[in-house]
């Protein structure tokens, strides 16, 4: 009861806030956990406790900016063998051609790598508890794999399947038409992979490829905003009031991202 009394007295104060866990420290700490800790880390991020009365709280310096995933070189998650699938596969899906750069130039593999190395890869917003019977299509994602685990399990399984189909060769060494056949077999679920669902992997992979091509460049993909330039999306722009009524006129300004755009950077 001492706690209760203490709490009641403190409630009398003008305003009392206590942050149990600083969110950034928590996320940094979560990064050290393996996938087994993912569910707990995701839950803990929800539970900052604060008592608020007599005015809304003001949190100077706590603006919740996204992490910048650009800059660093090399892969943080993918092994060389994994990159040997992800790079050519994503490039077949969004090829470099007369219309503009494709997936590799846009940084799609780097984007996916950074995502899999972070909270998304750990399944921070996935429920992964068991039991895990096979689900119906209408029940959506039904595996116990985190996204990172799914890539880690699926890519070698795909390579084994490719080897069986193409006399021991790896995906990267195939010609474009054969690579497309493999991707089509994954998409349709015709590729029977050992220990992992081809459709589950494909569903996540194509989503991540499109994300990497069109998400804000701050996450490492859509480099130089090539995805946005391809279609004419002006990006993270704030104010179109003058343009609402200008029907069928082409919007003239180039895209901007959360960090601005390359023309604004120092050389």
């Amino acid at each position: 009861m001492a706690d209760a009394k203490d709490d009641a007295q403190k409630d009398g104060a003008q305003r009392r806030t206590h942050t149990l866990l600083d969110r950034r420290k928590l996320l940094a700490g979560g990064a050290l956990l393996g996938s087994a800790g993912a569910a707990m880390a995701g839950g803990a991020a929800e539970v900052r406790g604060t008592t608020i009365r007599n005015g809304q709280i003001w949190r100077p310096g706590e603006a919740d900016y996204p992490e910048d995933a650009t800059g660093a070189k090399g892969y943080r998650f993918f092994t060389g063998a994994e990159a040997a699938f992800v790079e050519p596969a994503s490039e077949r899906m969004i090829p470099s051609d007369d219309l503009g750069p494709g997936a590799i130039e846009a940084g799609v593999p780097v984007f996916i790598d950074r995502q899999l190395a972070g909270p998304f890869g750990r399944g921070d917003h996935f429920y992964l508890g068991g039991p895990w019977p096979q689900g119906l299509e209408t029940q959506g994602y039904q595996t116990r794999y985190t996204p990172a685990d799914l890539y880690r399990a699926a890519i070698p399984a795909i390579e084994r399947w490719v080897g069986g189909q193409f006399s021991g060769r790896g995906f990267k060494s195939l010609g474009g038409a054969d690579q497309d056949k493999v991707l089509t077999a994954l998409e349709g679920g015709d590729a029977k992979l050992k220990g992992v669902s081809a459709k589950a992997f494909w569903g996540l992979f194509i989503e991540n490829v499109i994300e990497g091509f069109f998400a804000d460049p701050i996450y490492g993909g859509n480099r130089d905003m090539v995805g946005w330039k391809l279609i004419g999306f002006p990006g993270a722009r704030y104010d179109y009031r003058e343009w609402v009524g200008r029907h069928s006129e082409r919007y003239p300004l180039p895209p901007v991202g959360l960090k601005g755009r390359p023309a604004w950077d120092r050389a």
Binding site: R53, D64, Y127, I206, Y240
Partner: protein, 593 residues
């Protein structure tokens, strides 16, 4: 072992639209009011500033504002012959979390239900015969409240939000430019309609040509600066195209934060605690009175919070689960039809028609959550259903909510027929069509059915060891026939828009948890005129435990073809008025069973 805290007069569970409205309305009584929100505080400067707000990946695809299913989810199945499995990833609906709830990430589509919607059973039975409301195992009910009773409360919510629109029916007089099918309004909208982007004007012209009645969609996005009756100031929308699934950094979308908090948080008798997750409602020994709730704080400690009255204002799925976990009311049994808690869970059925032009630049990235034109000719009972084999309806709209490219191409697949999902032809189709595409959406009712319900899962448990909620739901022939009819009417309009080509996407087969459809889950704590067929009376008061009130769309006996928020708010205002004028003077049942 829970530590007991001092009693408060009014306890609110969850802190989104309904609890914020209740707190604001009840604060004038001087009673002590405490709200418990399980997740975090959220405000505009720190969490949704315009410097980082337009971030498609983070907010939608990485679910920054939504309930984290790793912490709490439910199990899903289409019917009782299937084994329900956990929703392992958000999809079909995007549950809110944190202060402001789903009211932070909504589009701001502000609708009133039709007068006949509130009489779904009696009205349809009278016009189309008694079997019209019982075929396909339907369990349709009247609400026990009428449009006329709710109208002043709808009006209050419009004024709170600064709703932009044009009245179609002012005190019985049909007005040009508005929705001629709507129930009579006492007042014009507080703000004029949003200015129109190009695609909705093409839609409106075509809809008029085929004989329908287009009007501007009512919007909680500000068409001009607005100060509401509580003194909260909202700014003009800048049409950035990041409304639904996002928070507004511009104070241009009506949310609990923008419309209520500036006033509410000055009330000395109101307190909000975040990081406080309510596990259970505790009853007295007779089971007739709610004495307290048990909650867990961020450190995992358990507290018992006693209260004079308890108001559930969490999302419907949580409210229904709390009733079931606390043993309040009789759980629904789909085999016998007995019991009411969990009964008549419903959803909505959507479809779309994409149009693609060669000669028109539509700039789809210029948008707002409720910016567009809509026809209501085929909603509710606005048309003759004779011989059609279904009841209910929906609206058909062309809204320019967004041009967010990941959503367009990983979610909605807004590409012409026969476009592959990847490769050079996909890339070429995307490059060619993005600026010249638009989508007509149909937004249809789901009636209640014997087999659609909520209960507790026998297998899966949450992190506290409590059973998860189990959702058993599928569309029936009523929904599919109705939605196909709406899709055909949308296709008529799409053709009249004279695009190069169009592509219709009818909703086929069973309900699936992917892809995103709509966050309009309803029922399970339904309202009505008697305790035999409802969980709460029309003041949202539990029949079984009169000092417990259950807010939200859980009260809808079935789900009409409109967005639910304004009706949820109107029901909350009506309940607040009854609590103030009657309940607090003589606590007890407001309606005799």
């Amino acid at each position: 072992m829970a530590t007991k805290l001092p009693e408060v007069d009014i306890l609110l569970v969850g802190f989104g639209w309904t609890s914020a409205i209740m707190a604001q309305e009840l604060a004038e009584t001087g009673l002590s009011i405490l709200a418990l929100e399980r997740s975090a505080w959220r405000d505009t400067p720190a969490d949704m500033a315009p410097t980082f707000d337009q971030d498609e990946l983070r907010y939608y695809w990485r679910q920054h504002l939504f309930q984290n299913v790793s912490h709490d989810t439910l199990t899903i199945r289409n019917n009782t012959s299937q084994t329900a499995l956990p929703m392992r990833r958000l999809g079909s609906f995007l549950l809110g979390t944190g202060v402001g709830g789903a009211g932070v990430h909504w589009n701001g589509q502000i609708w009133r239900f039709l007068p006949s919607d509130f009489l779904a059973k009696s009205h349809n039975a009278q016009r189309y015969g008694p079997q019209s409301v019982t075929q396909y195992d339907m369990t349709v009910q009247d609400w026990g409240v009428t449009y006329e009773e709710l109208e002043p409360h709808y009006d209050t919510f419009d004024k709170l939000c600064g709703t932009a629109g044009k009245a179609g029916n002012l005190r019985g007089q049909i007005q040009p430019g508005g929705n001629p099918f709507e129930g009579p309004r006492q007042n014009e909208f507080p703000a004029p309609p949003l200015p129109m982007t190009y695609a909705p004007t093409l839609f409106a012209k075509a809809a008029s040509e085929v004989g329908y009645h287009p009007f501007p969609h009512p919007a909680g996005n500000m068409s001009q600066p607005y100060q509401n009756p509580l003194g909260a100031q909202l700014g003009q929308c800048t049409y950035c195209g990041f409304c639904e699934k996002f928070a507004c950094g511009n104070y241009s979308k009506a949310t609990p934060q923008t419309t209520l908090f500036p006033s509410l948080f000055t009330k000395p008798n109101f307190t909000l605690k975040t990081g406080a997750e309510v596990l259970k409602i505790n009853l007295d020994s007779n089971g007739k009175r709610a004495v307290s709730v048990t909650y867990v704080d961020g450190e995992g400690r358990e507290w018992e919070q006693p209260a004079g009255a308890i108001l559930l204002g969490a999302y419907i799925l949580h409210n229904v689960r709390l009733l079931l976990l606390s043993g309040i009311g009789k759980p629904y049994n789909p085999q016998t039809g007995e019991g009411v808690v969990g009964k008549n869970y419903a959803y909505q059925i959507t479809s779309s028609v994409h149009v693609f032009y060669d000669d028109k630049i539509l700039n789809p990235f210029i948008g707002a959550g409720a910016l567009g034109m809509v026809v209501d000719d085929f909603n509710g009972d606005n048309f003759d259903h004779s011989g059609k084999g279904f009841i209910g309806g929906g609206y058909i709209a062309l809204l320019t909510t967004n041009g967010r490219p990941v959503e367009w191409y990983a979610g909605s697949h807004i590409v012409p027929k026969d476009t592959p999902n990847w490769g050079p032809k996909w890339k070429a189709a995307v490059a060619k069509n993005y600026l010249k595409s638009a989508t007509l959406a149909t937004h249809g009712a789901v009636m209640s059915h014997r087999g659609n319900y909520l209960d507790l899962d026998p297998t899966y448990r949450d992190i506290y060891g409590r059973p998860m909620l189990r959702m058993t739901f599928d569309y029936t022939d009523n929904e599919h026939k109705m939605s196909d009819f709406l899709t055909d009417r949308a296709t008529d309009i799409a053709k009249a828009m004279r695009p190069r080509e169009f592509r219709a996407n009818p909703r086929k087969g069973s309900w699936s948890v992917v892809p995103y459809q709509t966050t309009h889950n309803t029922g399970g704590a339904i309202m009505g005129a008697t305790p035999q067929d409802s969980v709460v009376n029309t003041y949202m008061q539990s029949w079984d435990v009169p000092n417990l009130f259950v807010m939200g769309a859980g009260a809808f006996p079935q789900n009409p073809g409109y967005n639910p928020t304004a009706t949820v708010a109107a029901l909350t205002y009506r309940a607040a008025a009854a609590i103030k004028s009657q309940y607090l003077k003589a606590p007890g049942a407001l309606v005799q069973a």
